[in-house]
Amino acid sequence: MASSKTITLRSSDGEAFDLEEVVAVESQTIKHMIEDGCADNAIPLPNVTSKILAKVIEYCKKHVETPKAEEHAVNDELKAWDADFVKVDQATLFDLILAANYLGIMSLLDLTCQTVADMIKEMSGNEICEIHLLIKERSLEKICKIYNIKTKLTLQSSDGMFFYVDVAVAMESQTIKHMIEDRCADNAIPLPNVTSKILARVIEYCKKHVETPKAEEHAVNDELRAWDADFVKVDQATLFDLILAANYLEIKSLLDLTCQTVADMIRGKTPEEIRKTFLRKHDFTPEEEEEVRRENQWAFE
């Protein structure tokens, strides 16, 4: 009889886990490592914490021990065990998905992703928004796609173009976030006040801001600030449209950015210079013109 070898796994936080080879090879990744002869010492798993690794090992052990019987009773018992196994908080569930994917444990990946897909169907608006943020944070879009977990939604511009956007990105707009919460976002969301040219820019802005972690480190924030400064280097007509769009879509950071840009363009200029940049000429009535003249003219003694 072949002796069952012991495999040692080391979690990202340095804890060592010993398990029988027959259990370890539930993971395709570890199986390949053993076949390639890389498993003589402890196998480091830098992507998996001890908390998650413990759970994964628990799952693998149970599935190895339970014979895949013809008898439904045994299979039902296993199904019930599985159902209990995934009764964990959302963050742990997502970590299990990531671990299952990394370790190549197909049955665990199926189980966890299906659980998330079922959860979303039952969820309230608020919870949906949180789930999408978690998916974005852990870059799980591809996996979710396989399991038909919708991570994108459709926006339609005033000139009829469709934009396919990650939910987490679209949620930068409070207006759209409320629609998701109210479950009005299942079909395409029409945005009659925003042209495709402007919507494309707004989406670009939201993408960048969702993808950049708001770090304590000034370096990251400085880089984002520099990106923002470039973003608003547009002609005044586009700037105007961006302000209106940011207001309509309720994207506070974009509204702040565009209004600050206009203020900076105005500061220290003469009224005539401002008119040249933004308008044609003034349209004051004679009374208004007189009032403006009075406000601007001082007599020095």
Binding site: Q236, I243, L255, I266, T270, R275, F278, E295
Partner: protein, 390 residues
């Protein structure tokens, strides 16, 4: 082809016209970010709808309020406000030989404004003969560099005389809410201590924890005070006011001043020397420091780059050298009660010196025409009626 350019012109015109239709609440979001009186005035002067939307901020102080001093005598004081402005030409008329003009304006009595030397309290009584009778601010680019507050006796007539009536030789720092309803004023009492006056108070109240105070400033929403050793505190307004240490003393130097430059708080340490008669204080050199908040200390700054610091009698401010033609940065304009040998009494430049950080040279402002013309006389472009003539 012509139809194309015409239609593009129309498009440009119509897109430009849209700005006058910017919804009021969005225009106000922009206006909120322009917080000086002149910027708002400018915004109001652009077009009809903006004129209607943007509120005009009252320029004079909310009230000339009587403040009774702490020793209980019955004369009252009032607070006079002056604004330091940098005037320039619109971009289309800028040339390398044309520089901006630095002025200080006082308008305590409505419709009667005075030009004051930006660094001192010297009023320019004799305006040049062809100085415009009415000065139109909308023709110029106006940047507000700072505000100056001076306490004056109530009976002192505001027109004409230099303010010998000011009780406190030291600085006044002032803050009021934008509607003028609430305000706080800090000043340096004759005893050298800090004194505070708040809306609703009847008298100035001294703050005992900060004796021998050299300078005050309202910066970044807070009051800062520095004593003659360089020890610097933030004064949190309350009853009682709370002082928190933000920088320890520095070694050496005589007088400390606080000045804002490019969004940062700087400290200037003035080194005095005994004058010829051994009585007057004469400034001989300056060191500049910036604040290391974490280390609670002032760290020396070797070079100011393009910036110029102005240490006036009653206020401090800074500017960018490239605004003024023929001026280099990295220097300090300062006031000194010591009279330079070639000073004329009651001259525009009396008691003002200039210090070069790079080589340590200093001298009276009157000896440096490129630097003195920043203040006086008014540049040629002020006189020209129609800007288009330049």
């Amino acid at each position: 082809m012509q139809a194309q350019t015409q239609s593009r012109k129309l498009q440009l015109n119509s897109s430009m016209a849209r700005w006058s239709q910017l919804p009021k609440d969005l225009l106000l979001l922009v206006a909120q970010r322009l917080n000086t009186h002149f910027d708002l005035l400018c915004l109001r002067s652009v077009c009809s709808s903006w004129h209607a939307c943007v509120p005009s901020r009252p320029h004079p102080l909310p009230s000339r309020f009587p403040i009774l001093p702490t020793n209980g005598t019955s004369w009252g004081l009032y607070l006079s406000r002056r604004t330091i402005l940098c005037l320039g030409l619109p971009e289309s008329h800028c040339q390398p030989t044309i520089g901006s003009w630095l002025i200080k304006v006082e308008e305590d009595v409505p419709d009667m404004a005075h030009l004051v030397n930006p660094l001192s309290t010297f009023q320019f009584k004799h305006l040049p003969p062809n100085f415009p009778k009415t000065f139109d601010f909308s023709r110029f680019r106006v940047s507000e560099l700072g505000q100056e507050y001076v306490l004056q006796y109530m009976n002192h007539r505001p027109s004409g005389e230099a303010d010998e009536g000011s009780l406190h030789k030291g600085k006044v720092a002032f803050y009021s809410t934008s509607n003028g309803e609430d305000f706080v004023m800090l000043t340096i009492h004759v005893s050298g201590k800090l004194a505070m006056f708040r809306h609703g108070n009847k008298r100035l109240k001294t703050i005992d924890d900060m004796p021998s105070c050299d300078d005050l400033i309202f910066f970044n929403g807070e009051f800062y005070a520095i004593d003659n050793t360089g020890r610097t505190v933030v004064v949190a307004i309350g009853s009682p006011p709370v002082l928190s240490l933000i920088a320890d003393s520095v070694i050496g130097g005589n007088k400390k001043s606080l000045v804002e430059s490019n969004g940062e708080l700087l400290m200037v340490n003035t080194y005095f020397d005994q004058g010829i008669h051994g009585i007057m204080n004469r400034a001989v050199r300056f060191k500049v420091f910036k604040l290391n908040q974490i280390g609670h200390m002032w760290v020396e700054v070797e070079n100011l780059g393009d910036r110029i610091l102005f240490l006036g009698e009653k206020s401090t401010f800074s500017a960018v050298a490239s605004e003024f033609c023929g001026c280099d940065g990295n220097c300090i304009y300062y006031t000194n009660s010591f009279f330079f040998p070639n000073d004329q009494e009651d001259d525009a430049y009396t008691g003002i010196g200039i210090f070069n950080l790079e080589n340590g040279n200093l001298g009276p402002l009157s000896s440096f025409p490129n630097y003195s013309k920043v203040i006086w006389p008014p540049p040629a472009w002020v006189y020209i009626d129609n800007i288009g003539d330049i």
